[in-house]
Symmetry: C2
DNA sequence: GACTTCATGTACCACACGGTACATGCGCGG
DNA sequence: CCGCGCATGTACCGTGTGGTACATGAAGTC
């Protein structure tokens, strides 16, 4: 009765509702963080925002650090889901696939997530531990499918890797531009210019 | 004798040594911030690091906010100086100019500054007020010289703008890739691929 | 040589933070 | 109906923060 908190939340002691509550909390936390940033997050404010006392966040996640790890992981998963959920009808030209992907990425409803992405990058580059694992997958995780697409399109492996890396970097750079300036038309035009260079001027 | 601090540092009351001291402090602060990040900066730690009491930082800058403004502004100025100090001998092909600029930007000694750039971006995208002014100049300030270079190379204005925007975004995306992965060779290869697409395969 | 000015330091304040101890109350097994 | 386990809340603690009041001492002035 002295200490009734399970010191190992997430262990086998958690079943059913408890696990549900936990993921429900982390979902709400990601939403809040996508909207308000991760920089000056405090357990108290987060708790107040999602309707729980900061005590419970500690209870479910052990510490602020672990909660942040969970938030970052979940946010990453959401990002990746967005790509994998992109089921394309076959017969589309690569340039059109890219254009479609760009359209989805720049959906204003995703702006919060994209901002969060760059914010987490900034923190991770500083060595903030809970954001550091992101750096690993930041490039490589996205590279694999892109390389696959390039090789399928007939590029030799080395070129495919460079081209994939280039495409990823350009998309991110333009995304940053869009978030900073909000100049949708200008950024879209730059993207079109890129597609022209990347896939050739003929849209097959 | 009650309050001997000038409430308006930077006003006409500051002359000579005072102003020098101030800029000396902000220089040291930028160095420290480039090395240790801006996220969890505290006046006390910064003061200890650069050899001054946190009291004096308040004295010279009025508040932490204003100090951060100064730091960001100075860091920006340094970045831009880096570009303008790039006096190139004429007769270089645009692709070679770009390659040279890329070499300088990716100098490991600049890694701290580059990281700081992305960190500030992340914060600014969140609406942190002292970083917000950065967003304005983040694209446009760099676009002007690039557009000038493109038009000089014979592109029509609209295309020049899109191409400039694209080049800037790609450089930044690849810079982020480099900082995250450290894979210098891979990123350089992607850059070469971009230059090939951007300026054509022939290196005049 | 007394007076003033001002840069700098020391000690302090109120506050918000992460984290902990303890209370409370709900839901379920007997 | 009881009793226990557990989710949740409240009150607290130590710490570090930005910012302020006041002390101190070294220059410069008349």
């Amino acid at each position: 009765m002295v200490n009734q908190d399970d010191p190992r939340p997430g262990s086998e002691a958690l079943h059913g509702t408890d696990r549900d509550r936990r993921s429900q909390l982390v979902d709400a936390a990601v939403d809040h963080v996508a909207a308000h940033g991760i920089a000056d997050l405090s357990l108290r404010r987060l708790g107040a925002a999602i309707g729980v006392s900061h005590r419970m966040l500690i209870h479910y996640f052990g510490s602020k650090e672990q909660l942040l790890v969970e938030i970052v992981r979940t946010s990453e998963r959401r990002q990746r889901d967005l790509l994998s959920r992109l089921h394309l009808e076959p017969g589309l030209a690569p340039a059109d696939v890219a254009r479609l992907l760009w359209q989805r990425l720049t959906d204003p409803r995703l702006a919060g997530q994209e901002r969060l992405f760059f914010e987490i990058c900034g923190q991770a580059l500083r060595g903030r531990p809970e954001a550091a694992p992101v750096l690993e997958g930041l490039v490589t995780d996205w590279l694999e499918p892109l390389v696959a697409a390039e090789t399928a399109a007939g590029a030799n492996p080395a070129t495919a890797r460079s081209r994939a890396r280039l495409g990823l970097a350009t998309v991110r750079g333009l995304l940053l531009d869009l978030l900073a300036t909000g100049d949708r038309a200008g950024v879209d035009a730059a993207m079109e210019e890129f597609l022209r260079l990347y896939y050739g001027s003929d849209r097959t």
